[in-house]
């Protein structure tokens, strides 16, 4: 299959030593196997995550994304813009819809962009990496490079919010999306399709400001995974990944639970199935080690 | 009758041949049934089978045909001999499929089959081919009462379908309420903006149409006659009267608005309070400009109060919802927003009722900035030059007082249905406490309470207007048959029938026009109207035997029978629905139909030999309504639900047609019990002839005396309400009743006849 090229929007937390750094490593490994070339949008800036609403208004958040689109169109013409972070993808896409659908806002955005010496005249679509995998490759193609089966691992597919709503992955249901389970199965893993918290919000956006409330969400998500007999959770959202992993110790401390449920990013288990090492799959970057996955990765 | 030739055709198909002894059946038909031709066929409903019958009719002079095969409801297209009287002995659904299989039941099963052959033969002998109503008249002109949207639509639809139309409007001009509207709710997409009423164009079409004659400022002084020959007197205000003949009548007398004065608590009477009709007036005056109050005050805030004096459970105001008011208020709110978006426009509702595409119209109003609030209004009071609306906001759960320059009360439609004849009757029956008179419509008498003026001024002995259903509406009681009024050839349409919006009214008018056309066409052919549509039989009365007891005229559910000055019944056949209630009512049995009479049933009852007292084989007569009970019996057969082989079922047109003589005859001739199965009675009656089951019930309440005279147990006669879905239940009822007879023992009357 010919090399596929995309303009890549990494987002702040994917940078080295940032909260999703290890996930990024695994994305790179996965892309290598699938012969995907991701080129960073030069000099990209933050997507102005929706949680920043109290500081930045609608237009300000829109222009931040407009800048990224314009840079992509300028330096990587014709390439779809791809994000691995659910929040970045959602915010960019939302801004793009508004810019492309509302002439008034487009004009105002360009007025602002002028200050940065740029002008937005439309761009290629903004897509999430999962869309690329499912739509540009498809489960069969993703299955082909598998060299290590994940047979003995039980995955609970935790989709979360922002890859799922309001846009979602084409053809998937908001209440019960199946694509993660299908990804897991194509990698030979066991998908716990009956897992009933797959689209529950982890409260990530309010993790700092409302810890108790959002940790209640995490507790539901993790408990349900244990109920299903899951070995680990898998998610398409770096924020969910960090949030659900990081706060389990907090919850244990406050509520005397004994949570130790690993949660990995889909590209990590794919990288492992494609034969990556523990390091290459970013499995060394976990607070709660996904031991079973690490063991398979370590196997020669 | 010498030239009659009776033939019996017995079918051995569907397993009948294997189970029944046809030798015996044939013997019964020949010896007892006196059939001159008897043929057996293995597949009688087949083309070949039917052909033999046709040949016999054509070549062998066969005049009467008995089919001994399946139910009269089955294979109707095969057994179809319009010119030949036919009886059907139900051997399949009635015997084969319901009597327990196996040889130990052979005897009772055979007896049952034999009896049905006997009964079929007996019935056949008494039957003749209905010749059709001789008194049929063929005036095909249609009278439309009311020149509003409904009446105009009915008139133009009928005229454009080729029928002469006479339109009578009490006002001096056409248009009714529609003429008072600024705009109307849209009829089709886009459901976004108020539309022109289109009335002017409709009126122009009506006035221009050569087949339509219009009488303005006129009312009906008198309506006499029957479908095909209604004689109406049209009176102008001046008193001039023209006599016209029409074939059918559409009553589109419309509605009045609920009297605001009855709603003081909602500010009825305050200068800042109008009803929706009042608002239309203001909007018409403003004609797209800023709407002002009648007193000239500007309106910067308006509040619409839904369900004002409607949906009332206390019995003070209208109990129903008028259906159109939510959409009307939404439309009127748009009047304000379209003229000036800054006018604060609030609609207070408890349930917003905008069905179908009305949802789009609702959305459109929201887009225009109309505010909708779910709230219950307690009072509207004067406040400065405007009003205060006091209500409970049901969403925010708090009491609120909201000031407004103008308050619009969405009051309801009050049908113009003329005189409530039931009310007349109540008063009448109070006065004449003639004991044995059925609790039915009685002679209307002058009443103390002042009644609204009659719309139709019918000369019918049962009252001057259409019977009302509830809350003064002249709606049909039947879900499947919305136009079935209880006065043949007269159809209510529009808001007089049921509260409705303009779109539904125009649809309703179109349907009513069809029914009127149908009525004149049927009347011209002397055929019955719904539900026995096409039936050519009609009631024939032997006046020489009549004792002027008036029961037939009183009990007829359709007011078909008048009385002459000597109180003899005067039948108006084309008003008649052929239910036979009069036949059931007649104590001297002088009323009959050519193919259904006291004799056709009576002779069946008397055609059987009763097994003796010691045989332990009782005989139970089952008189079953052909509309629901008999089909239920058939379906019991279809599902092979077994019941007692001692029962003998006879279908009747309606329980109302059951003449008590049948019951006494049965008991006298040794039947052990009589079951009657009819439709539900009461408020939610399911009797297709309205009062049939009610009357049967009433008559049976008198049967006990008869039983006592004969010194018989009261259990020997039992009546049941049966629904068509009761196929399992009817079997159970029969079996239980058979047990009852077993318990109380065989009839002592056997052997006396």
């Amino acid at each position: 299959m010919a090399k596929k090229e995309y303009a890549f929007y990494p987002g702040c937390s994917s940078q080295s030593k940032a909260s999703a750094a290890n996930l990024q490593t695994s994305v790179a490994a996965m892309c290598k196997t699938l012969d995907i070339k991701l080129t960073n949008i030069p000099d990209w800036n933050c997507c102005g995550a929706s949680i920043a609403y109290a500081g930045g208004g609608e237009l300000e958040r829109a222009v931040m994304n407009a800048r990224n689109f314009t840079l992509a169109a300028k330096h990587l013409p014709g390439q779809d813009i791809v994000a691995t972070c659910a929040a970045c993808w959602l915010n960019s896409r939302e801004s793009k819809d508004k810019l492309d659908g509302n002439p008034q806002m487009l004009a105002q955005a360009n007025e602002a962009l002028k200050e940065a010496g740029l002008n937005y005249q439309g761009s290629a679509p903004v897509r999430h990496m999962v869309e690329v995998l499912i739509e540009d490759f498809g489960y069969d193609a993703l299955k082909k490079p598998v060299v290590k089966s994940l047979a003995e691992i039980k995955f609970a597919g935790y989709v979360g919010c922002q890859t799922n709503r309001p846009f979602g992955i084409a053809g998937e249901s908001f209440e019960n999306p199946m694509y993660l389970d299908q990804l897991v199965e194509s990698m030979g893993g066991e998908a716990l399709t009956a897992y009933d918290q797959k689209v529950t919000c982890c409260g990530g956006a309010l993790a700092f400001s409302e810890p108790d409330k959002s940790q209640k969400q995490i507790r539901d998500i993790v408990e349900a995974a244990y109920d299903q007999g899951a070995d680990m959770l898998v998610t398409p959202c770096p924020l969910c990944q960090a949030n659900v992993e990081v706060y389990q110790s907090e919850i244990n401390r406050k509520q005397g639970t004994k949570f130790k449920m690993p949660i990995v990013y889909y590209s990590q288990l794919m990288a492992v199935a494609y034969g990556s090492s523990v390091k290459a799959a970013g499995l060394d970057g976990h607070i709660i080690a996904p031991t079973k996955l690490q063991q398979i990765a370590a196997k020669k | 009758m010498a030239d009659n030739k009776f033939a019996a055709y017995l079918c051995a198909g569907c397993g009948l041949g294997e189970v029944l002894d046809f030798e015996t059946l044939e013997k019964v038909a020949k010896r007892e049934g006196k059939m001159q031709v008897i043929k057996r066929h293995d597949f009688l409903c087949s083309a070949e089978g039917v052909q033999t019958i046709r040949d016999d009719i054509a070549n062998e002079g066969v005049t009467h045909v008995l089919i001994g095969a399946c139910s009269r409801r089955a294979k109707t297209d095969a057994f179809d001999f319009p010119q030949t009287p036919m009886a059907r002995a139900n051997l399949r659904e009635g015997v084969l499929w319901v009597v327990a299989p196996g040889t130990d039941h052979d005897e009772v099963r055979q007896e049952m089959a034999d009896d049905y052959i006997r009964m079929g033969c007996a019935e056949l002998k008494k039957m003749a081919v209905p010749a059709g109503n001789p008194d049929c008249a063929s005036n095909k002109r249609i009278l439309v009462v009311g020149g509003g949207m409904t009446g105009l639509t009915a008139a133009i639809e009928a005229a454009e379908t080729g029928y002469e139309v006479l339109l009578v409007e009490k006002q001096a001009q056409l248009g009714g309420w529609a003429a008072k509207l600024h705009k109307r709710v849209p009829f089709r997409e886009p459901y976004a903006e108020p539309q022109d009423t289109g009335l002017a164009e409709l009126i122009a079409r009506v006035e221009a149409h050569p087949k339509i004659g219009v009488h303005l400022a006129s009312t009906l002084a008198e309506t006499a006659g029957a479908p095909g020959r209604f004689a109406v007197k049209i009176a102008t205000e001046s008193g001039a009267v023209t006599q016209e003949t029409v074939g059918a009548i559409i009553q589109a007398s419309g509605f009045s608005t609920y009297d605001l004065a009855k709603l003081p608590e909602l500010g009825g009477g305050l200068p800042g309070v109008v009803d929706q009709a009042g608002l239309e007036q203001l909007a018409k005056a403003a004609d797209g400009g800023a709407i002002q109050r009648a007193d000239g005050q500007a309106v910067n805030s308006v509040v619409f109060v839904q369900c004002a004096g409607q949906r009332d459970e206390t019995g003070t105001h209208l109990p129903y919802c008028s259906g159109h008011c939510c959409a009307t208020s939404v439309k009127q709110a748009m009047y304000f927003k379209d003229a000036n978006p800054d006018v604060d426009t609030v609609v207070l509702y408890t349930d917003l009722r905008m069905p179908g595409m009305g949802e789009d119209f609702y959305r459109s109003a929201q887009t225009k900035g109309v505010i909708f609030t779910k709230g219950k209004v307690s009072t509207v009071t004067a406040a400065g030059s405007g009003c205060n609306v006091n209500f409970r906001d049901l969403i925010l759960n708090e009491e609120v007082t909201l000031g407004a320059d103008l308050v619009v009360l969405a009051t309801g439609q009050v049908p113009n249905s003329g005189v409530n004849i039931d009310l007349v009757v109540e008063l009448a029956t109070e006065e004449q406490a003639s004991g044995d008179q059925a609790p039915a419509e009685a002679t209307p008498v002058a009443t103390p309470v002042d009644l609204p003026p009659s719309i139709l001024n019918l000369t019918y002995r049962q009252g001057p207007d259409l019977p009302q259903l509830k809350a003064g509406l002249t709606d049909s009681h039947f879900i499947c048959f919305p136009y079935e009024t209880r006065r043949t050839g007269i159809y209510a349409a529009g808001p007089v029938r049921r509260p409705m919006d303009m779109l539904q009214a125009t649809d309703d008018a179109t349907g009513a026009a069809l029914k009127a056309i149908q009525a004149v066409e049927n009347a011209a052919l002397g055929r019955a109207a719904h539900p026995r549509s096409g039936d050519l039989s009609y009631p024939i009365v032997r006046l020489e035997g009549c004792t002027q007891c008036k029961r037939c005229t009183v009990e007829c559910p359709f007011g078909a029978i008048d009385e002459d000055e000597r109180r003899f019944p005067v039948f108006n056949e084309s008003r008649c629905r052929r239910c036979g209630t009069c036949m059931g009512a007649c104590p001297v049995r002088v009323i009959s139909f050519e193919n259904y009479s006291v004799d056709t049933v009576g002779s069946q009852i008397k055609s059987l030999d009763m097994p003796d007292e010691f045989s332990e084989r009782p005989r139970i007569l089952l008189l079953a309504c052909e509309n629901d009970a008999y089909p239920a019996l058939d379906m019991a057969g279809l599902s092979r639900t077994l019941y007692s082989a001692f029962v003998r079922a006879i279908p009747v047109r309606c329980l109302g047609s059951v003449n008590t003589i049948w019951i006494t005859d049965a008991l006298n001739s040794g039947w052990d019990g009589v079951m009657l199965m009819g439709c539900k009675r009461g408020d939610d009656y399911q009797c297709h002839f309205v009062k049939g089951s009610e009357l049967a019930h009433y008559r049976l309440s008198k049967i006990d005396d008869t039983l006592k005279q004969l010194s018989l147990e009261t259990e020997r006669v039992a009546s049941y309400e049966v629904a068509i879905t009761d196929s399992q239940r009817v079997a159970a009822l029969i079996n239980d009743y058979a047990e009852t007879i077993k318990r109380i023992g065989m009839s002592p009357m056997k052997g006396f006849n």
């Binding site: 109290a54 200050e115 919010c161 709503r165 919000c201 700092f208 | 505010i371 969403i395 925010l396």
Partner: protein, 214 residues
């Protein structure tokens, strides 16, 4: 910003009249997607769909009703809309397709601009710090953001929080997912000047943005 504040206060009487359109119009003019508020039909599906539902003083559908009822202060001073987690459950279920998440953010941000938002509303603080953090350079500096948040209520509570979260932080640092050196260095785009100018302009434009037409 300044411009907005005054419009916010001048135009509108202190207590807006009940069920007048004033506040609704104000919201339509100044709140992101505010023109949708009037389209709500009060079914309540949003209220039932929110993961933080029980924590809402007034659920979205009620807030829409309150706006229509002119309850200006109750709405803008409420901390209800600060409970939004941006999960979009309400948006995908709303039978009238209202962008509820955006409207909640919009109302919150408008309340903030008017200075009516509850003091010490933690999400408010986080939101502002996040914005300042990411607009300072053009990219988020997670370390500064984190630390900043813990010390927002002063040193003592800050240290407490850090002690509580220390294991987490250390875990992250160990895992190479939190970089203490970001406190001094950190990632950032090259054209920071451009970005700053761009944002300044955008805010200026937004300040006198005309009411959106629906």
């Amino acid at each position: 910003m300044q411009a907005l504040r005054t419009t916010g206060h001048q135009g509108i009487p202190a207590v807006a009249a009940r069920y007048r359109n004033n506040f609704l119009k104000e919201v339509e003019a100044h709140v992101e997607d505010g023109e949708w508020v009037k389209m709500c039909m009060q079914c309540g599906v949003c209220a039932g769909s929110c993961p933080f539902g029980p924590h809402w003083e007034h659920p979205p559908q009620e807030i829409f009703m309150m706006i229509r009822a002119g309850k200006r202060d109750e709405v803008l001073k409420s901390d209800a809309m600060w409970m939004c987690t941006s999960c979009y459950n309400c948006v995908v279920r709303c039978p009238r397709k209202l962008p509820i998440t955006q409207i909640m953010h919009g109302i919150a941000s408008y309340a903030q601009e008017l200075g009516l938002a509850p003091k010490n509303q933690p999400t408010r603080d986080f939101s502002i710090q996040f914005w300042n953090n990411c607009t300072k350079t053009g990219r988020v500096n997670e370390m500064k953001l984190t630390v900043g948040l813990y010390f927002k209520d002063g040193l003592v509570s800050g240290i407490k929080q850090v002690m509580n979260m220390l294991p987490v932080a250390i875990g992250l640092i160990k895992a190479g997912r939190l970089n203490p050196f970001e406190l001094i260095s950190g990632h950032s785009p090259k054209d920071q000047k451009g970005i700053a100018a761009m944002l300044k302009k955008a805010r200026a434009i937004e300040a006198q943005r005309a009411p959106a037409t629906h």
